[in-house]
């Protein structure tokens, strides 16, 4: 296996010592089949034990290792050394506060996830643990692609609207809310509508489409948001022009 020495420019930030982040460059002898995450692990184990970053599964499932690789929001376990130039810049995910080095603060998105009630809501029925809510393959297909989201937040790092207005609910949460709205077992659509059809919800999206381009799991949040806009418009028309019509 051939080795190649990569120059990794990594953004470092120590909240106890640094006024602002700065880049530090490491020479890393990489194997061609390495992902960038392997190179980070090499630094941590051999060159600088103080480097902080998140990772867990190394197989594009956990969504922890999202970072900016040469300015592109990426899962570092999915970006391979063989596809990169000799000099690579690694930064924490854009649009989030930096906790330390490559670790970002995700509290804002976690809070929005709670507000959007990203779970199946049933109304007015007794809980019977033995009962099931059947779902046909066709009904599942309506939302299945949105269930692929692994909350890596690459879409938030790519979204210029979220960068300019952090009140914006943002791509992943809106896509996941859409997923539950489309789920035939869910009855919480009306509860979510106030939040999602508000200015900070779908209407704050200006359809740059960057979220869908960078998603490592090929989820299409931009599509979900445009569909929500259409749904909200139809809902508004029903309420204002056709009063009395069931929604």
């Amino acid at each position: 296996m051939s080795n190649r020495v990569l120059q990794l420019e990594i953004m470092r930030y120590d909240p106890e010592q640094d006024a602002e982040p700065a880049y530090r460059t490491y020479s890393v002898p990489c194997q061609e089949d390495w992902a960038i995450l392997d190179a980070l692990n090499y630094i941590k184990e051999n060159l600088d034990t103080t480097l902080s970053y998140r990772w867990s599964c190394h197989m594009m499932v956990c969504g922890s290792c999202g970072m900016m690789v040469n300015g592109e929001p990426s899962l570092t376990c999915k970006v391979f050394v063989r596809d990169l130039p000799d000099r690579v810049r690694i930064e924490p995910l854009a649009n989030f506060p930096i906790e330390r080095d490559l670790v970002v603060v995700l509290d804002d998105v976690m809070e929005k996830m709670q507000r959007a009630q990203l779970h199946i809501i049933r109304s007015g029925e007794a809980k019977d643990p033995s009962s099931e809510h059947e779902q046909s393959p066709a009904a599942l297909k309506k939302f299945k692609q949105y269930t692929m989201c692994i909350n890596c937040m690459a879409c938030y790092a790519a979204c210029p609207q979220y960068a300019l207005d952090p009140e914006f609910i943002g791509p992943a949460v809106l896509a996941l809310a859409h997923r539950y709205n489309l789920d035939s077992r869910d009855q919480g659509r009306a509860q979510r509508l106030n939040l999602l059809a508000d200015h900070d919800g779908a209407w704050n999206c200006s359809f740059v489409g960057a979220c869908s381009e960078v998603c490592p799991k090929q989820v299409d949040p931009a599509a979900a948001i445009q569909q929500m806009k259409i749904e909200a418009s139809v809902e508004w028309l029903k309420q204002n022009l056709l009063p009395g019509m069931p929604s």
Partner: protein, 132 residues
């Protein structure tokens, strides 16, 4: 250990210069300004027609023979209308996905339907205008 999260500054005026996909988005959005200019042009032509005065209408027609206006019309057709239409038709399957039973209607078919409608409406307009 104290927490002191660092918030990176974002330029409110030049954010779109940071990535090619933001530049292309801005280009797409900026075409709407030129579409507005084209609307004003059409409205001024309609106003000349509605005035009922032959001279005003002739003046409007004569003004459109100027090379600058001919270039503007050509530019408008290629960059505003065609570029906008291609961009938006391409996005249609995202905003309006169609599912029939277990099967999803292919995006290409939805886009093709838009092009067909465009062709039919354009032909109808040409027919009304007496071109065909």
């Amino acid at each position: 250990m104290s927490r002191r999260p660092y918030i990176r500054p974002v330029s409110r005026t030049a954010w779109y210069m940071t990535h090619v996909r933001y530049k292309s988005y801005m280009l797409r959005e900026l075409t709407c300004v030129l579409v507005a200019v084209y609307c004003v042009l059409i409205l001024s032509g309609l106003a000349a027609l509605a005035s009922g005065t032959q001279t005003r209408w002739d003046e409007f027609l004569a003004s459109q023979q100027h090379l600058a206006w001919i270039l503007f019309h050509g530019f408008a057709l290629v960059f505003f209308t065609v570029y906008q239409s291609i961009a938006w038709f391409g996005l249609a399957p995202k905003a309006m996905p169609l599912q029939m039973g277990d099967r999803t209607v292919p995006g290409g078919l939805i886009v093709a339907a838009h092009y067909m409608l465009w062709l039919v409406l354009s032909a109808a307009l040409f027919w009304i205008a007496g071109v065909i």
